[in-house]
Each structure stands twice: as structure tokens, then as C-alpha cells.
């Protein structure tokens, strides 16, 4: 069985809503698949990011 994740979960991991330890505990040992729709949403999010919404731009 392979698992694919709602894109929102990647956002939760990035913003700390889901702790890395919780992420690892839930997903270690599971085979993950990145859906094309999630790739689309992540790329779309990057393209729409700007200096006000994307914290790493300060570095």
C-alpha cells in the first residue's frame, strides 16, 4: 500500500503545525507517493510566494 498526502499536510509540516517527530512517527515505514496534483499545488505556492509571505526571503 502506498500513501499520498493532502498538500495541506506538507504545509503543516513546514509551518510547525505538525512536528517533525509526529511526522516521522506516523509515516516511517510507509511508502509515500507524491501526487501530480500536490506537485502542482506546491509549485503554484512557490510561484505565488513573495517577500511578505515567504519567510526565507529575509535571508
Amino acid at each position: 500500500m502506498r500513501y499520498f498526502l493532502d498538500t495541506q499536510l506538507y504545509s503543516y509540516l513546514a509551518n510547525g503545525t505538525i512536528a517533525p517527530a509526529e511526522w516521522r512517527a506516523a509515516l516511517t515505514g510507509r511508502e509515500l507517493w507524491l501526487s501530480p496534483v500536490t506537485v502542482y499545488e506546491l509549485l503554484e505556492g512557490l510561484l505565488k510566494a513573495n517577500v511578505h509571505t515567504f519567510p526565507i526571503s529575509a535571508s
Partner: protein, 149 residues
């Protein structure tokens, strides 16, 4: 950062731009089907039987009677029901179409979907694929995963 994004935008694979166009076109079709549904089925809504088994609703969702109750179809029907019942404005919820696309991957019986969206889980719980849709909070609170478990 802005310059980096602009540069990345110019170097993205051409198929990503195609992908964006396809998503936009698909979303437009999705919303058009909802508008057609409103015009055709809404006047009879209060007399309709269970939406999942109503010919009107199946036609509105682009399905024919007898097709199995996959998660994408059940989700689409739930969106149509919200539109009819609570005047839900689907145009203000562009992620509905992306959720619908994600759920279509469940046609592959080797795939399971993890989400933090309790509403989506509820909207698809009558689907025959609902046993492969997991709520993150429930999965994360289980015992650690073991192979074969």
C-alpha cells in the same frame, strides 16, 4: 527571493505550464457542471431521492447510473448537495476541484490518502473507497506503524 522566483518561473518545465492550463480548464468545467446542475436539477431538488442514486445528480456529475461509488464521485455529489442545500458558492472554493482530482487517484487500489481535512473525510464517508482515506490526527495517534500491521 522575488528575482529567484521570476527566474524559476522562466525555467519551469513546459509541462508545468500545460499542467496549470489543464487545471484551470478542468476547474472551469467543474464549475460549469455545477452551474448546469443548478439550472436543471435544483428546481426538483426537494423531490429528489438520495443524491448518490439520483439520475439527475449522476448526470450533473458527469456519471451514468450503475457506476461504482468512488470517492471522487461521492465528493462531487456532496459539493453539489451543498450548493443546493445551503447555497454554497463553489466558485469561492477553488480547492474543491483539487480535492476532487486528488480523490480520483484512489481509483488505484494500491493508494491510500492522508488528509487533515475532517470535512473531506465526512463528505466521502459513503464512498466505497472511504477505507483508504485517513484523517491525519487519527493516524498520528495510532501505535507506531509496523510492516504488515
Amino acid at each position: 527571493m522575488r528575482r529567484w522566483l521570476q527566474a524559476a518561473g522562466g525555467e519551469l518545465p513546459a509541462d508545468f505550464h500545460d499542467f496549470r492550463r489543464n487545471i484551470a480548464a478542468g476547474r472551469a468545467d467543474f464549475l460549469a457542471a455545477i452551474r448546469r446542475f443548478l439550472a436543471r436539477a435544483l428546481p426538483r431538488y426537494h423531490r429528489a431521492a438520495d443524491p448518490l442514486f439520483s439520475a439527475d445528480w449522476q448526470k450533473a456529475a458527469g456519471r451514468t447510473p450503475g457506476e461504482h461509488l468512488d470517492a471522487a464521485f461521492v465528493f462531487h455529489t456532496a459539493v453539489l448537495e451543498r450548493v443546493a442545500r445551503i447555497r454554497y458558492n463553489a466558485e469561492k472554493h477553488p480547492s474543491d476541484y483539487l480535492d476532487y482530482l486528488q480523490l480520483r487517484y484512489l481509483n488505484d487500489e494500491d493508494l491510500s490518502f492522508l488528509t487533515a481535512d475532517r470535512k473531506l473525510v465526512i463528505m466521502t464517508q459513503r464512498s466505497l473507497e472511504s477505507d483508504r482515506i485517513y484523517l491525519w490526527s487519527e493516524l498520528a495517534n495510532r501505535e507506531p506503524f509496523r510492516h504488515g500491521g
